[in-house]
Amino acid sequence: MMQQSVAEPAAVTFTMPARKSRAQRIMRILIRKRLMTFSFFILIVIGLASALAPWISPYSYVATDTANTLSSPTRLHWFGSDVVGADTFARTLYGGQVAFMVGGFASVISLGMALAMGLTTVQIGGWFDILLQRVVDAWLSLPFFVVVLTAVAMFGPGLWTVILILGVSRSFGLSRVIRGSALREQGMVYIEAAESIGATKLRIALRHVLPNLLPVVIVLITLVFAQSILAEAFLSFLGWGVPPPKPSWGSMLSGQVIQYMYQQPWLGVFPGVALTATVWAANLAGDGLRDILDPRLRGQNV
């Protein structure tokens, strides 16, 4: 006969998982996101090497060794030397300074401007928003690199010209992303609560909306960092970036250098690898951060 057996309820033991410290949580993310961790590691290594160039590099970036022009990597010139005998190792390191300066400052400037525009337009709204958004539309329909190249050529090349022009031209498109995120926050109950107790618009923007945009901002900074470095290299390659004697990874491959590469292919290897590695690492780091910080942005191209 059938016997209904009711399983004894197992003794329920319930233990609260031990709360992990902040450091432990960050470590777990770093281990799970190996690619991102590795990318940050690459960025730190290249960044440090560039920053410490005066101490690491055996040569200055202008010193020429006329006895060893177009040399392959040797014990004397670790990365080889160029057509006038300048040391490629030194120039690659100092070129990194330019890249990190441009990437760092241009991304901070464009995000700063984008935040100012995005937050203002959301708080003021109405005709101001409509007007500004049409200007953003117009700006976005301009071909980015063509405009940047024209502007740099008209204002004259120079490190800070390049940084400012890259930062400003990128900010309009980014303000659209910031505006979108700020609008989403604006619809939240806590903003309504803040409004109901009489908080000013400025206070709402700075104290309530801004901190919640931080994840988006961090992700965007990383990606714009990569794009700005690449854009500066393009400009320098065309001869309109950072003027000589300061080396840039772009200018190290510009002008007649391609002709000399037929004689000495090593000329092209190190600046190209350094540039690609930096931009690749920054893009991968940005992607990783996006997955962690702001999943809503996933799959978007910004």
């Binding site: 049409r134 190249l149 309109w240 540039l275 191209n301």
Partner: protein, 313 residues
Amino acid sequence: MAGYAIRRFLLFFPTILLVSIIVFTLLQLAPGDAADIIGQDASPAKVQAIREQLHLNDPIPVQYLRWVGSLLRGDLGKSLFSGRPVITDVLYRLPTTFELGIMSMVFTAVIGSTIGIISAAKPEGLADQVLRTFAVLGLSLPVFWIGAIVLVVPALKFGYSPPAYYEGLLSDPYTNLRILVPAAMVLALSGIGRISRLMRATMLDVMSQDYMRTARAKGLKETTVLFRHGLRNGLIPVVTLLGLEVPFLFGGSVIVEQIFHIPGMGNYLYDAINKRDIYVAMDMNMFIATIVLMSSLTVDLTYGLIDPRMRTR
């Protein structure tokens, strides 16, 4: 649909007007004017005369209106140096850049979406992880470096070089393609990165839809499900992104045409900029922006045709 098309079409005009204001302002902000550039070594009186001749002493709004007026009449002005009408040079060079752009766009669309689909077929699988990492590499590769490698490595390894002189597609297709195919491939790299990422994201989105489950439940073959139901819907956003590739193509063509010695629009703009031929630069910016705007208009209209949901937005 008609209402959507008209609304979208009307938006084109204020936008292009704003673009012209931005371009004009940008060049007004720059130090020096055309007279300073032509009369570099001339006496101040001569420079003043040139300034008078080019109407550079008129109020700025008047100068702006004169410029826009001549653009509307289809007059792109003349080069400060060669004296040739800009339109002559542009029409001569347009076919080359057009060919380069179309070829690069085809590479981008075909290779990019294939990679995206393979990625999405087994998300987080080995192929997906590798392909995604390489898609990001595509976005990060400097065009000029890859261009240099494409030229130098075959020359050193196999003694192969592309032809030294450019020929048009019609006059000498073989020479033309030997230069333009590698150039278009190099130009397509970053687009491939962008498109494959988008394709993967939209395919994953489409795959989680109810109609995909229904199709499988009906007993359709997996390939039929993937291609007939999945791909058709997944391709829609890709159409938009292809439209957004147009400005990148123009930017990239400045560099690619420089490396491969192609006499196209990018090369023309670069020459103009190097000589500080500001009218040509201004007109080229305007011309390229117009093409970009028209392509995004076309994309939006096609989008409305493919996806009826878009019309109401």
